[in-house]
Symmetry: C2
Subunit: 304 residues, 2 copies
């Protein structure tokens, strides 16, 4: 099958019925990324963008795309990696991050749980009476990403969540009835606290398989490994269901995302600056007197 430009197609976009050649496909990904930024006003001239990088396909594709966009727009770009301290995993993904940043000539900063909090994730998971590894990791990583990007002078923190990630989270929140999480998933987070760096998700409308193909076609080396801490079974079930639905009705994930986005202003409006206070221990944004990170750290210290 040929692309409409005449060249041999490398990809079939089922949800739009288009066959695309290599050039038209990579252009289409870049266009989707750019349009998401433009339509949602994610980046302005003069912004200082910190891109969170894990060494996986999503974050390294995001870094490449942001770097491409820099040629047209005038903004600063810095990469920020968080070393959670997961032996045999994170240490192996850091070389991919270093290589990508070197190739693109983007400054890289690496922060670690060990340095910041005193414990690696591997150490944290050795304590008795603990919750799931992903709970600690999520709280600590978000905290560190926010704090470090602020210290790097970021006006925005860019994250590589793709369409699959986002649609899974939306459905999980709906099935869990987790209202506190509504409004946390979106293209752009409101700035509700002076210490909060607004987060942007420019890949939010791009399906995972297009990210993989883009990385492959653009020769972006990334770490294929998945985190050894067991992924949540619930997410796996939701992912399988959405993949099956997408297979039968192309466009389902995108539709779910857009349905959520139409509802989102309502939930986002529920959150006002009064809902966000400041942690009395660390001074970071928090929804209660002490932030979740300080609460967890306290429990770890007592049980380590």
């Amino acid at each position: 099958m040929n692309c409409k430009c005449g060249h041999k197609a490398v990809y079939f976009k089922r949800y739009s019925g288009q066959h695309l050649c290599e050039r038209c496909f990579t252009r289409a990904v870049f266009k989707k990324f750019k349009d998401t930024i433009r339509v949602n006003g994610l980046i302005e001239r003069g912004d200082a963008i910190v891109c969170g990088v894990s060494g996986g396909k999503d974050s390294l594709v995001l870094l490449h795309l942001l770097h491409q966009l820099q040629e047209k727009f005038n903004f600063n770009l810095i990469a920020l990696a968080i070393d959670e301290g997961i032996k045999g995993y994170r240490d192996e993904s850091i070389p991919f991050i270093r290589k990508a940043c070197k190739d693109l000539d983007v400054d890289l900063y690496i922060d670690s749980f060990k340095e910041k909090y005193g414990y690696t994730l591997d150490e944290i998971t050795s304590i008795k009476d603990r919750v799931g590894a992903c709970s600690y990791c999520g709280v600590f990583r978000r905290n560190l990403l926010n704090q470090s990007s602020r210290e790097l002078g970021a006006t925005k923190l860019a994250l590589g969540h793709n369409l699959d990630d986002e649609s899974q989270v939306i459905l999980m929140n709906l099935l869990r009835g987790d209202f506190s999480r509504f409004g946390r998933t979106g293209t752009y987070y409101k700035n509700l606290h002076p210490k909060f760096v607004p987060r942007i998700k420019p890949l939010r409308e791009i399906p995972e398989k297009e990210i993989v193909l883009y990385a492959y076609l653009m020769n972006i080396d990334f770490d294929f490994e998945e985190c050894p801490y067991a992924p949540e079974a619930f997410r796996g079930d939701v992912r399988n269901f959405l993949n099956e639905m997408e297979e039968k009705r192309p466009g389902t994930k995108y539709t779910l995302l857009k349905t959520y986005d139409k509802m989102f202003p309502t939930f986002n409006e529920m959150l006002t600056p009064e809902h966000i206070s400041t942690c009395e221990t660390c001074g970071e944004p928090s929804i209660s007197t002490f932030c979740k990170k300080c609460e967890m750290l306290d429990h770890i210290k007592k049980n380590y």
Copy 2:
């Protein structure tokens, strides 16, 4: 395992961890039904309730429960069946309806597509250039239920949708992004048009398997047959997924329903009387100049 009252349990409510004996189980179903009515103000003294009956488990259990409630409350109860004209199916379910109404001494009215619209559903599906049988059936049945219950003097139309039906529809609407349908699923429909009979769904929080067990324990004979017109494949996929999630995380369907209900006021408020007009052909409530039923009927007449 025994019920907390000491009798042998016949049912285990996984989502609450309760083992229930026959008496406590049937009482719990009646209580859930009553609470749904009370909390949502579904029935008031002096109401004239028309109960839509299909001969299946849900509608006949609803009729029984409404009849029981009548002993405590003072309201009128009439049963209304719609004969769509589906050979080998509807004709076989009508005897179940007649028996239930006779046992309970409830007046029964039967209306038919043939008599009202001139065609049975079997005839409609023989036309060329047609949409799915369920599309015609849904539009015609809703139209006839509304019109006939109004003519019977109903102040409310009670329908037997259970928790499984409702949670499936909610997830289907989310995945289809069908905004026009948001606000159509709820415990109670606002009265937006003088010819619209408000619909109530008192079984909306009761799982399907509890309805089946209740029918069995209360000796309610119902038609087990499923409609021969192929059920929607999409609904089947959504049902399987929700059943699997419910199995793994008891309470998932209920949580989805409640999440939807918390969002629902927003969508219900989007609908105002200005959104509802009157069909210029038949005078029934419609969202456009001509109602969907008249549009379909026109197409059928031209193609029959």
